[in-house]
Amino acid sequence: MTGAELLLKTLSDLGIDTIFGFPGGSALPIYDALYNNKKIRHIRTVHEQGAAHAADGYARATGKVGVVLSTSGPGATNLVTGIANAYMDSIPMVAFTGQVALGLLGKDSFQEVDITGVTIPITKHSFLIRDKRDIVKKVKEAFHIATTGRPGPVLVDLPKDVMTQQISEDEIKKDVNGFIDTFSSKQHLPEGFGALVEKAVRMIEKAKRPVIYAGGGITSSNASAELLQLAERINAPVTTTLMGITGFPTEHPLCLGMLGMHGTAYANMAITECDLLLALGARFDDRVTGKVKKFAPKAKIIHIDIDPAELGKNVNINLGIKGDVKQFLKELLELLPSKKNEQWLRTVMNWKNSYPLKYCNKGLKPQYVVEEICRQTEGKAIIATEVGQLQMWAAQYYKFKENRSFISSGGLGTMGFGLPAALGAKLGRPDKTVFNIAGDGSFEMNCHELITAARYNIPVITVIFNNQSLGMVRQWQELFFDERYSYVHLDEVETDYVKLAEGCGVKGYGVTEKSDLPKVIKQAMEIQAPAIIDVKIDPKENVMPMVPAGKAINEMLGID
């Protein structure tokens, strides 16, 4: 068996059945092994960046590891944005890159790039496999590292000759050695976890105005059921980050929606007034906290995170607990008595009624488009997004019911993420309706992946919120740069996205009238084929409320 065949066998042994990639010179031995392989489905995207985002979307939708494969040099560097995106959002991913043969390494050979070096700051770890006997061991280690603790991307660089060499069973190094043991021992719960949970119980019991602030850790540890139980047990309102938005059902009475820069007014007010903040698998990102000194100024903060480096990194906390959120919640629920907090809940509900998310539903408004998609999918679709205004509207107005149903680039804010990520999500969850909510600007960034959608007939519906501009940048220029609209308008030439889609073999619809929208969405869902809907939305619409950068989160624009 060749090294490449052994690689694929190892992947199959690990339960991997889908990989995304693009072939090339140094990856030829691996692609040769894929030629007759029946166990692994390989999806070829148009661009390696798309393959990385598709693997990322697949991982987010399924909870499994996303796997991407590229050749050396430009193939590998094209993965960089996708890897960084997964790193920022703690998504488990393993990236395999072809590499020039060992003898050519370090000689500036054709299509040689030191990709392990390039990706050090954006991977949890990386390997360059120099010895065929290490293939099984290091690939398994890569998957172990990607999935344990705080998940993240791992890169494995595979020199061409290591992939072509013949290897026999007895030459293969046994996979589990001291290294894995050492590594996994870092994952164990810290000493005195039980005592810390008890301390948390006492703090929660004492609190009069508790708020739960839930992040992506709820999703990655599949703890949404436990979160719901906790919120109902102690009657604490729950606000989520963008990454944690599907961790708690939007329509639950205790749900305050998203907090932070484009969060709801009532979530930000509750944070500002609470006396206890229970932060679960969240990392106090600057888009969440605004001015750190004025974030939850009256609260004692309990912070639970799998990554101890997050505890106390961005804000001062009163109790930091390193551990898996699900495990923490299970132990907490064992001990925690119920609580009413009636007065606090009345105050919060009063804010919720007085300062709801709202928009003027005249003309074709983006918020209405999201609401219509939500209505027709009953809140049960997987919603992937590009980045910008549309992403915030999707987060604000879609009423999520199920965990892992929102696929969005949170930390890195990658325009062009949505379409390939939606394709990956649909391949991972063929049972779900998948929408990609896009802006015209971000759609253009990776619109070529429509070709992938058509090639494999992946029925993802991209809804382009077409405002002929880079809306979020335009909004900042309007509000903070004296309306100096520098390079944000896209209407110099009118691009016909419907024709573009049809040229790629994807069904295209155009919508200019509000009254046409419902039936077009319905049609697009019925055809069970990839489609785009180009919706000409009101180009002046801004995302509100908004906390200007550097302000305290209760200093919001757009509420009255």
Partner: protein, 167 residues
């Protein structure tokens, strides 16, 4: 504030790159850094002196612990440890001042490791203060070159930093 941190790492190529990269991208300042293998050839020990307050040192330790190649991170407590640095100083040494320099070297228990007609190279081991004091004394003669290894440190007594122990 300066803090000395001892890091046990897997002896792989590229490990130093990962550690140095972590320091630069997170904006941690390295005052000195020394690397070498340990009693176990598969493991290297890196001694880093970090400039920064308690928050920085805490972050340095936690971020280092996240690197897969890092086995153990320990803070060196000055009172409970021995720290040493080696320095080579090449100093202008015309024949008329040579005996004075040799005398000073003896007081500091430094060794003369090379002599030429116009210069002398002196090797000195010690902690930071001793080395600085010696450097000051030699300055008037004219220091042509000075190289330091960076601090290495070990705990006093039977306590040792080994992989078997957990942090």
């Amino acid at each position: 504030m300066k803090t000395t941190i001892s890091v046990l790492v897997e002896n792989h190529p590229g490990v130093l790159f990962r550690i140095a990269g972590l320091f630069s991208r997170r904006g941690f300042n390295i005052d000195s850094l020394a690397v070498g293998t340990t009693e176990n050839p598969d493991i290297s020990r890196i001694t880093i002196v970090v400039e920064g307050d308690e928050y920085i040192v805490e972050q340095v330790k936690k971020q280092l612990n996240k690197l897969v190649d890092v086995i153990k991170v320990s803070k060196i407590i000055p009172e409970d440890s021995v720290t040493r640095e080696l320095v080579l100083i090449k100093v202008d040494a015309e024949p008329q001042v040579r005996s004075e320099i040799i005398h000073m070297a003896e007081i500091f228990r430094a060794n003369i490791v090379d002599v030429s007609r116009k210069s002398m190279t002196i090797e000195l081991t010690g902690d930071k203060n001793k080395i600085s004091a010696f450097e000051e004394l030699l300055k008037p003669f004219g220091i042509k070159e000075l190289v330091r290894t960076g601090i290495i440190a070990v705990n006093r007594g039977a306590n040792s930093i080994k992989i078997e122990e957990e942090n």
